[in-house]
């Protein structure tokens, strides 16, 4: 993957729900979460009591900043809170991510449903946040109680453990799809329009004539079926004018045999193109 990287000439997407890492254990994981947020246009990172302390300074800075790759600005603007209550104080709605049932009477949404709801509520002016628990244990039940709804991910039941940055990545991805649309970042390369049908049919007739001449259609009774199959194969290619010229050129060459080099024809347009 990769290949595009950070582009400093394009304004970065911002907004979306706050990503609230509750008691994260490893500074390097905080960096990876920042990177995942940047990939999908999330910009509000909040930390509640990170076990290794605040990674902006000191020995942990290097690992966290390396893991964040080009998303160091999110670490720089992250906010540190001493309690979850303070971290969610300004929010109008809170979702808690969890991989297992908590016996709490609260709606359970898949990540896509949750981010569709989040996009609508944020468009309506609300501030939302998503809670992610510590790497090893997940959120404590008392922390889940602070949320309005639970978010979980469809996973292989035999192997349900997502790491912290992966969970943030999936939330970011579904946020991107819900808030900014799910279209891929680029479309098929520009191509000329489909060839006019008369050009395609004229090529078919030329090809079938040559095939008839060399005895390709055997047994003869099968010719209509063989011809239909052949035409359908070509139609599945959505041939452009250029495609038709290429194919006709190939058949001409195969029929006429090796081209005889004639110096005087040099620099003249060729009939079989490239």
């Amino acid at each position: 993957m990769t290949g595009a990287g950070t582009n400093h000439t394009i304004p970065s997407l911002t907004g979306g729900p706050a990503i609230i890492l509750v008691r994260p254990q490893l500074a390097v994981n905080i960096g990876m979460c920042a990177r995942a947020m940047a990939n999908f246009g999330l910009s509000d990172l909040r930390l509640v009591n990170p076990r290794e302390g605040w990674p902006r300074t000191g020995a942990l800075r290097k690992g966290a900043y390396a893991a964040a790759a080009g998303a160091v600005h999110l670490l720089e603007s992250a906010r540190l809170f001493a309690s979850l209550e303070e971290a969610v104080a300004d929010l109008n709605g809170v979702f808690a991510t969890t991989a297992r049932e908590r016996g709490q009477v609260k709606s359970v949404l898949a990540a896509d449903e949750a981010m569709i709801e989040a996009a609508a509520r944020i468009r309506g002016g609300e501030k939302l946040g998503i809670l992610f628990g510590p790497e090893r244990t997940g959120l404590a039940n008392e922390e889940v109680v602070l949320a309005d709804k639970i978010v979980s991910f469809p996973v292989n039941p035999a192997y349900a453990s997502l790491n912290l940055a992966q969970a943030v990545l999936l939330i970011g991805y579904e946020w991107m799809k819900a808030a900014h649309g799910s279209a891929p970042p680029f479309q098929q390369a520009e191509r000329s329009p489909g060839a006019p049908r008369e050009m395609v049919v004229s090529f078919f007739e030329y090809l079938e004539g040559e095939l008839e001449r060399v005895g390709f259609f055997r047994p003869l009774a099968k010719r209509p079926v063989m011809q239909n199959n052949l035409r359908n194969m070509f139609h599945r290619m959505h041939l452009t004018e250029q495609d038709v010229r290429s194919f006709r050129g190939m058949v001409v060459r195969l029929v006429e045999g090796p081209r005889v080099e004639r110096p005087k024809r040099k620099n003249q347009p060729s009939d079989d193109n490239g």
Copy 2:
């Protein structure tokens, strides 16, 4: 997140498209891809010319196996190929992931569209594979040519670089949704059914009578509006019979004041429950 982990008592999901890592640079990333595959029930891992060699043995084994976490079985069953042509030889369809436009006339699908198509084709008996390029550069154009279609991800255009395991994770996640359904792995905790409406209305009438008595509804002209708002607040909770008993008990206690401990009533059912 986490909290559920690997469960060896549940049969693991298998199948899905082959994940084909083309010239991956770091053994540790191969391990992380294996882990992401296991999370979403993918089981066919193929490696084409990994730069650090085959991580099943030697110095690289440790990092790759640690990164795979509980998904070591996928590294054990992975297959090594000397060329991409050999790696895709048995496949009926090949998709190439890429983060940038390649100027190739090929359909470009978002990951969700691609996995919906993959699920349908695999159900129909086809074998498919998804190509992922090296970490730094992505697939070469000649490698993309080998694919039928291109797959890409909606990303923040200013920060479009997904790492290898993240790209595999998103493909796995969309495969899971398309092939096994997008429902979260558990539903809301069991709860008793909603209270019969006559029980709720009876509680409202009791509450409103007490509020009337203590002069809550002021100015009196506002009483109908205040009462409607109050009833709507309670209806938004989807009260169960237990919820209604809890609320009635709270109001009784607030109205009657501190409970007088009467030893003879011990072990009798309480009217305000817990």
